[in-house]
Subunit: 204 residues, 2 copies
DNA sequence: AAAAAAGTTAATCAAATGATTAAATCAATC
DNA sequence: GATTGATTTAATCATTTGATTAACTTTTTT
């Protein structure tokens, strides 16, 4: 019978899934060996197939979970009818920064998924409905009614300012010669800066 | 003897290198099969090893070339003592947009390289000297002397606004429901927008 | 034109890799 | 506590994959 008490991530199945998450996000699907996952989990190789049927299926599970983490950070804020545009901007930056500080491999993993399998990403999350028709985009459209650029242009720049620093963090670290802690501090500073810049751009 | 007339990319060696560039940039090192490269090149599998010794060596060559394309777009502009800060901003955006419109796979390829092998990237290009001590950064530091944020923060946001749209282009296409041509037009519009926003941020 | 060098090909090798199996161990239900 | 079912293990399989080889062809040199 399966251990299932207080979900202490201590069942074999959970150990494997956690190991798979770690390795897949760090190295990508093709570079990941099932033996890497087994070793990282400290479990026998055959248990991967016993619990998850195949490498591909295990990856599918990790991918959907990770996409979920990415999207669920966005959707509720986007579709909250009770917050102002400025509040939404602050919350998006804050939520994503917290998520990526905790899980820095997510941005590049998602970008790679989007490029390898755009349909799966777009379908899975119904991004179109949840973003293009969100309250956020309605507010943006109103704000930019007389502007020279579209809400999409703002959105892309906004997301770029949030996500790019994490996807390029080893470069930042190299340029600044900073430790892991200093890098984190630098990235955290952007919680204040990015919203300020975003609002500035919107006023233009 | 090697054909070497007008460099029409028609020698076997060039065909293989072009095929390798195409496949490596699209799928990454681990997901690329040497047989993919041979098939894409329309040449015999053994010729890859005949001309390039190993898959790894061929990838090294492509990687260094691609890093070169990325860096050489930046360095000359950064270190030009005869242009203003605003002019540098315009040129960087323009040069990178042109490069990525032509070769859209570069951004994600570089980001992956940076994350898999930061040292090689930083060493190879002497990024630190060429960027941190560039004329551009001197101008930035002067401009931001009394600002609340550092040149690095600006630089990262600036690069994010330029690069992110290309790394996330399939998402943009999905959201807008746009054709390849429409996507290109959208990305080209940013040649005007991003410099305007960058200057705005600098004034703050 | 003969000899040598360069280029190309199909076949094959050895290692890596995802997956499976059958036996062994552990847990829980009667 | 014996039995049944779930879990774990080591060994093995079949395929894929990067690389090599040896024969063959084309090109260059003498």
């Amino acid at each position: 019978m399966k251990r299932n008490s207080i979900n202490s991530a201590s069942t074999t199945e959970e150990k494997i899934k956690n190991a798979a998450r770690e390795v897949f996000l760090k190295k990508g699907y093709a570079a990941t060996r099932t033996r890497d996952i087994a070793e990282t989990a400290g479990e026998n190789l055959a248990l991967i197939n016993y619990y998850f049927k195949s490498k591909e299926n295990l990856h599918r599970i990790i991918m959907l979970e990770t996409m979920g983490a990415f999207i669920n950070t966005m959707i509720p804020v986007f579709n909250n009818p009770d917050t102002s545009l400025d509040e939404k901007i602050e919350q998006i930056v804050s939520n994503y920064t917290d998520l990526f500080l905790d899980r820095p491999d997510i941005p590049l993993f998602i970008l790679n998924q989007i490029n390898q399998n755009a349909d799966k990403f777009l379908d899975h999350v119904q991004v179109k409905a949840n973003i293009m028709q969100s309250h956020f985009f309605v507010q943006l459209a109103k704000k930019l009614k007389n502007s020279t650029y579209s809400p999409m242009h703002f959105f892309i720049s906004f997301m770029g300012m949030i996500i790019f620093p994490f996807a390029a963090s080893p470069m930042i670290q190299g340029l600044r010669g900073s430790s892991d802690a200093e890098l984190k501090a630098f990235l955290k500073e952007r919680k204040e800066l990015v919203p300020a810049w975003a609002k500035l751009i919107l006023k233009a």
